[in-house]
């Protein structure tokens, strides 16, 4: 359908953008790349009375790499992440996951902030934010605050973002550089076509201790249930163990048992349950290789 009517504003400062959102309490939406919001409006799932375009706001398009980790400005596009050579070592898991996001044309417009705010349960970036214990920096009429990814995603298309708040930055904790070989990681997802929404996906990483046992294991899943989530019981099975074919097989089976997938038009719950076990197996196998 053609889009419903709305008013449009294109402020030049973050302060003005927040004020515009605050003045319309809940009836206004921030517009970044529009690659999720515009289809939502075409389907009438979203019908904001005012769109506040963020394209003229300064300082939101930068990718910062430092000892504090990787910071992605809210208006950073998938294309920018793809093109940034630093990220191959600064955050290889992020880089691998983002390679699965959408198609060529959408990658030229879709943004970090837009994906986080949209909170699709199958989206890659929310899954990476959650798995890596990232923080999301936001600005509202009450000032700036940071929200832990674990507290941010509340359900399908639902986040902790207040109506007057705009995401400014995603802050990913540092990826080890000095002992880079001790950090093992894998990302796997399955979709009918690369670039389509995943039926399920898995992000995994762990560190090897001095005796080559896994520690600090993080395993997150997307496309299963109403939001991205980690699997603490499965992570605990790996911590303190050597990662070999036998332990990977056990963990894959435990993953299938631990998740509570949904039926939908794309896949049955039973299919997703089997799929996510296979994806964990593949992610850990590629991590250990």
């Amino acid at each position: 359908m053609k889009l419903p009517q709305f008013e449009y504003a294109c402020p030049t400062t973050l302060h003005d953008a927040v004020a515009l959102l605050a003045a319309r309490a809940g009836d206004a939406k921030a517009l970044a790349g529009g690659q999720s919001l515009m289809p939502m409006m075409a389907f009438r799932i979203a019908q904001p009375a005012l769109l506040v375009d963020l394209r003229k706001l300064p300082g939101l398009r930068e990718i910062k790499v430092s000892g504090d980790g990787v910071r992605l400005g809210a208006m950073v596009r998938w294309r920018d992440i793809e093109d940034d050579a630093r990220l191959a070592s600064a955050h290889p898991l992020l880089k691998a996951a983002i390679a699965h996001v959408a198609h060529y044309q959408i990658r030229n417009r879709g943004t970090v902030g837009g994906s986080l705010a949209h909170a699709d349960p199958a989206a890659e970036l929310p899954g990476i934010a959650l798995t890596c214990e990232a923080e999301i920096a936001v600005m509202g009429k009450g000032g700036a605050r940071t929200i832990k990814a674990t507290d941010f995603f509340l359900g399908a298309l639902t986040t902790a973002l207040e109506a007057d708040e705009i995401i400014t930055e995603l802050r990913l904790p540092p990826w080890p550089q000095e002992r880079a070989k001790s950090r093992r990681w894998g990302f796997q997802e399955f979709a009918r076509r690369r670039g389509d929404f995943a039926m399920a996906g898995v992000a995994a990483f762990y560190d090897l201790d001095n005796s080559n046992k896994a520690m600090n294991t993080h395993i997150g899943v997307i496309g299963i249930g109403d939001r991205p989530h980690r699997l603490p019981a499965v992570e605990a099975m790996l911590n303190g163990r050597a990662i070999d074919d036998a332990s990977i097989e056990r963990v894959a089976a435990a993953t299938s048992a631990a998740v509570e997938p949904q039926d939908d038009i794309h896949a049955s719950a039973a299919y997703r349950r089997a799929l996510v076990g296979t994806l964990v197996e593949r992610a850990l196998t590629s991590a250990a290789a």
């Binding site: 053609k2 449009y8 529009g34 289809p39 075409a42 769109l51 060529y104 030229n108 417009r109 670039g195």
Partner: protein, 159 residues
Amino acid sequence: MPIRFEVNGKQVTVEVEPRLTLADCLRQQLRLTGTHIGCDHGVCGACTVLVDGDAVRACLMLAVQAEGSKVVTVEGLSNDDGLTPLQKSFRKHHALQCGFCTPGFITTAHALLSEEPDCDADRIRDVLSGNICRCTGYISIVEAVLDARAAYKSNGGKP
């Protein structure tokens, strides 16, 4: 509200409602009907145009967001000497039947070959995965794009 942007090398000023997509603005107000609208919600790729050099879906962009940009439509990719090398390649390889999706494939392939004239078949398939064709089955389209690479390579990314 009035907006000003460049389309195919010409500055235009149009009066648009905020809800008008760039695709509808190009077709209805500027009568550039080469940009086709298939799904109108970002799935089919038929409406692909170039905005500041990047291939984007014109149905997922508001016309007001194009203010100050340089937009190139499929009309802007043709020249006065008949078919471009990419268009010739589509004809040679039978890369279209009904032709509805073709403008989106041409603009997408042009953006790709302009930046990556050395791309391989896998990369071409990956990039074209955002465009849907219901007639040809894609093989001939990939072959046409592969064959058009030479024209972009020999001319520094320009066909």
